[in-house]
Symmetry: C2
Subunit: 277 residues, 2 copies
Amino acid sequence: MMKVKVAEHSGFCFGVKRAIQIALKTAQQNKKVATLGPIIHSPQMVSHLREKGIDFIEDIDDITDETIIIRSHGITSYDYEKLLNKKVNVVDATCPFVKNAQEYAKKLTIEGFQLVVLGEENHPEVAALLSYVDDSAIVVENPDSNFDLPKGKKIGLIAQTTQIEDKFEKLSVKLIRECKELYIVNTICHATLLRQESTKALAHNVDIMIVIGGKNSANTARLAEISKSENCRTYYIETSEELKDEWFKNIDTVGITAGASTPEWIINGAKKRILDM
Amino acid sequence: MMKVKVAEHSGFCFGVKRAIQIALKTAQQNKKVATLGPIIHSPQMVSHLREKGIDFIEDIDDITDETIIIRSHGITSYDYEKLLNKKVNVVDATCPFVKNAQEYAKKLTIEGFQLVVLGEENHPEVAALLSYVDDSAIVVENPDSNFDLPKGKKIGLIAQTTQIEDKFEKLSVKLIRECKELYIVNTICHATLLRQESTKALAHNVDIMIVIGGKNSANTARLAEISKSENCRTYYIETSEELKDEWFKNIDTVGITAGASTPEWIINGAKKRILDM
């Protein structure tokens, strides 16, 4: 009989669990509640919250009298100011680890370091982080790419919380060669690392890997990348409806892993469906 | 005819030239002048200074009424205090780059970083540097060795000014994996690097390499190491008297390189002698 193993660490991280709890609690205490943007990269979770009376608003201009929840990614300083000007009730559910990276971005910039951020320039977390420092910050998505650094400056390096440790190390090494002073603050979230390591370990012990998460979730996409790079046949799905019988032909052991934005009920649903096949 | 090429950068560095100039100038202005320990790792230079009336004293207790010159390596805070208690005239010729490393050691320690120093624990420069910080500092001579780091601490990394860049990079990478916060200050002196790079480049363009310097000079020993590791037949001598005819049989091009503590007249003497062979 086919076995299914779920990665030791998978699914919601601390910051996401916390943001959802804050949202649900806020909805119990207030009439009109909305998150600014979807709370996490999971359409299923967004629907679930809608059922609980929590809407989401994309544009601050569309806010009327809602209590607004800032999601775990955080928001830019400009949006924060706009929110304040709206004079609505604001509940900040920004992940403490994301806030920590923002604080270090500010600290390093104030102390005269040229800030370098390993991350995706257009990710909401990075956009928010950049808004708290001056325009000089440099975002590097790929350590192997070419990027210009101002000569003779002290460099401060941080990372988007969901980045890969290997990339961070690679960029660190590149920067050591470029400057006399380098202050490295590893702001990568432990949860991300644990999910990545669990996925890597599991990939060695299964025949195929099912990676579950929103297709627009960067951290889930990375789990799929890691699984593939361990030479494990890997399928990336959003819900159990996408599972196909043919994937499981002549397979003994199936691995399941899920990004930090994947609800537990989706992971359990997928496991059940695979076992029923 | 045999050609002799001298490495582009070789011999006295800025700090050593400066210390000797300070010593000579002090000897012109004062009757009894002595350095505390030999001014540099060159017995020839020490004799030369003695001819100019500059002695050297090993033990602070032996000082009577001399004007004391602190050599480019610097001295420990304990010795500095002892010197002050002697109430003698003190002229500080500590290399500014060595002083810079000492300043960073203090700064990092004060700011709560666990100080790690890449260097030789018993080298006078490192001993001096350590005396300015608390006992918690860790000295690492070989990045491949095992050493214990206190868990969860911010780490500050500096180096003895004469260390090799590759080792520094290797240790940096090891430390990145060990901590969340790593402040790297590359205190390796440019002069050392230039001598090392010149030696490496020259090793590819000569048949044999003559490395000149005091046998107790760590930075000269490293030049010999580098030359050998580039597969160049290498001889390490202190003066041209040690040159042997047999080394130069069937040789077209001879390279000469010298550590930062090797006087120019010794380099020129060796070049002349080789050309005369």
